[in-house]
Amino acid sequence: MSDGYNFAYLDEATKRMIRRALLKAVAIPGYQVPFSSREMPMPYGWGTGGVQVTAACLTPSDVLKVIDQGADDTTNAVSIRSFFARVAGVATTERTADATIIQTRHRIPEQPLTEDQILVYQVPIPEPLRFLEPRETETRRMHALSDYGLMHVRLYEDIARHGAITKAYAYPVMVAGRYVMDPSPIPRFDNPKLDRSPALQLFGAGRESRIYAVPPWTEVRSLDFDDYPFEATKADAPCALCGATDSYLDEVIVDDAGGRMFVCSDTDYCAGRRAAGHRGIAAPPELVDMGEAP
């Protein structure tokens, strides 16, 4: 841990402000609490909201995992993990099961979360109605009146034009039967994991200065219609490395001739399966025994 920084980087007054916002967010599930977002030593869009929420929640005994689109080894995840190792001195891990706080950009880990974990989402646009109604005064009133007709019209128009709801990520959800919430740009494949999760889920939007939350065991319903029920979707293939058929897949272009393969987006899940001996069609023999991802 570096000298010269307060524990977890933020000053105590800022942490108190964020902590008060977090408690109100938990008390009003799905409602976006305004907070006084700080400038962080990374640009907006790199997870400044999530970083501020994580900083306000961290204790010295926490074990932190950070993922970016499911991967532990991408630039964003590596730099946020090393940021907190440096300014808070906390232990870090790539293993979902070992983490007490998981900060995520756009994925929910495949391995089911537990009551002892907090999932912190990085959120770019917290307002699910923003692209339908640009005025904050109006969207705020719509939430106040629980007036979500516009969102249903938007989903209906998808069905009218395409025969199905085409929204593939940031698929809107109803939290505890009251507030419509943007679950951040997670693939809709992950939406069912939001519902009645044993873990506490916190959402931080730095640029937009909003914090919201889903308490454990809370009902989170993806918006749909009786005759067009919500469907979690993914690429129709097994993972080429570990053979998993139940995980969300990234499409990887492998040559200039249109060749492609599908691999788990959750690197820890994929590595864990390979360590356990599972292998997919494109896994070279040496991958089987590698355990942790390279």
């Binding site: 307060n6 524990f7 008060r20 408690l23 938990v26 009003i28 305004p34 009251r178 809370t218």
Partner: protein
């Protein structure tokens, strides 16, 4: 003035403010996210009649930007000086309070506190209630944060049920006894067991 002179108010803060507040906050966050769950908090030693748990909650959440209402016996010289020295919170009446601290009898009736507005339900008071005891028995709790049902010794279940009926407006509660605390957000349905 007596308290100021004897310096009692100077003691009893967090020994290591950053990590003590972080640990205390996690306890409060867990309690608020899992109503009925009782957490232990340490590190604060406020003067009587404030419990150690309530003191830790104050040091973790309250500062010069959050008006505080001290109710009843908690509105004494010693505690006022301690709060001023350690948090800098402006001491106000209940209608302006972001936080309120007192025994249940001193804080009721639950009228006159800010409960938020339909556009900003978060602009509502958090009541820190010092209770003689806290146990996982009594009123039946259901709602967000609770898997099936939980139980908590509440002083007046009907008052909490009336508060929940106002959702999304309403008050949130941190219930303290000694060094233990639980929380009750406005979302929770409260029934007499």
């Amino acid at each position: 003035m007596g308290a100021m002179m004897d310096g009692l108010h100077l003691a009893g803060g967090f020994a290591d403010p950053a990590t003590d507040a972080a640990t205390a906050f996690r306890a409060v966050l867990q309690a608020m996210a899992r109503p009925g769950q009782i957490e232990s908090v340490r590190g604060a030693a406020p003067p009587a009649p404030c419990s150690h748990a309530a003191g830790a909650a104050l040091l973790t959440l309250v500062d010069s930007t959050t008006p505080l209402y001290l109710a009843g016996a908690h509105d004494c010289d010693t505690l006022r000086d301690w709060v001023r020295f350690h948090t800098g919170a402006p001491l106000v009446g209940r209608s302006e309070a972001a936080f309120a601290l007192g025994t249940w009898d001193a804080l009721v009736p639950l009228t006159g506190y800010p409960v938020g507005t339909p556009e900003y339900p978060d602009r509502s008071a958090t009541l820190i209630v010092d209770l003689p005891a806290l146990s996982g028995t009594g009123a039946r709790l259901t709602g967000p944060g609770i898997r099936d049902a939980a139980a908590l010794s509440l002083p007046d279940p009907a008052a909490f049920a009336a508060n929940a009926a106002r959702f999304p407006l309403g008050l949130d509660f941190i219930l303290c006894a000694g060094d233990r605390l639980a929380a009750l957000p406005r979302t929770i349905r409260v029934e007499v067991a």
